[in-house]
Point group: C2
Amino acid sequence: MIGVAQEVGRVQIGELAKVTGTTARALRHYEQAGLISSERASNGYRVYEEGAAVRVRNIRYLLAAGLTLDDVRVFLPCLDGDVAAAPPSDKGLRVAWERLAVLNERIAAQTETRDRLEAALRQKAGGLIRPAA
Amino acid sequence: MIGVAQEVGRVQIGELAKVTGTTARALRHYEQAGLISSERASNGYRVYEEGAAVRVRNIRYLLAAGLTLDDVRVFLPCLDGDVAAAPPSDKGLRVAWERLAVLNERIAAQTETRDRLEAALRQKAGGLIRPAA
DNA sequence: TTCAACCCTGCCGCCAGCGGCAAGGTCAAG
DNA sequence: CTTGACCTTGCCGCTGGCGGCAGGGTTGAA
């Protein structure tokens, strides 16, 4: 083993992938997209600091909610709280609010659509078929 | 002009695209995906019957809400109401309810995420920046 | 020394929902 | 008879978020 963790949190990509439930490939992708950063060891290996895991989990959480990497980039500085990253700039915050508004619209649209679909289904199904609940 | 409409609603692809606010390309795509159907004139041109416009608008509506073409295929039979298409089969209805449940989950996830983001933003912004509303 | 298990950087592939273009047929008007 | 607006099929391209592989270095253990 290459050092289970000399200093806590100084971890390489495979480990980070494992603990965050993702893949090294995805992590490199996030880095290239500017969502995470890494130092390099003398051999060129990426080394992640403590807190990276939190950040990555935040990323995954937002992605899972249907946000794009661009969106995530906007919101991340507001989520890390403690870790580095630019303290959310004024402009950054404005943009974040804008994206949030967009998100709200999307949710509204989907909700409306769902309601209509549900109504249509109830009507078609008479009473034969019921919501899975 | 090739006949502004001999019988009302017997219309070709460009017209249908125009009235539904989409493109011929997209309509062919929907057809290939099995979402709409068309007869052919003797010259090979697609001819759409009345009601196609409604169907297409339904499709666009659902797509705009973030559904996939697959999803749409599932829900369409329940929306046409009058037009042809298979009368929503029993199995079809079950599947539709399932998809609806998925949609609900997605909405829930997004809503939760939005709430968290909003909270984070409020905290970061103190009171400097306010929701766009 | 050799091996396995890591890591690196490309670069191509996939899915979805089309856009866009080529190469050709059809039709009505001038 | 030509023009131009329409239509046809087919295929390649693009965006996003990676997956996966090739080709190569580094490490620690046996």
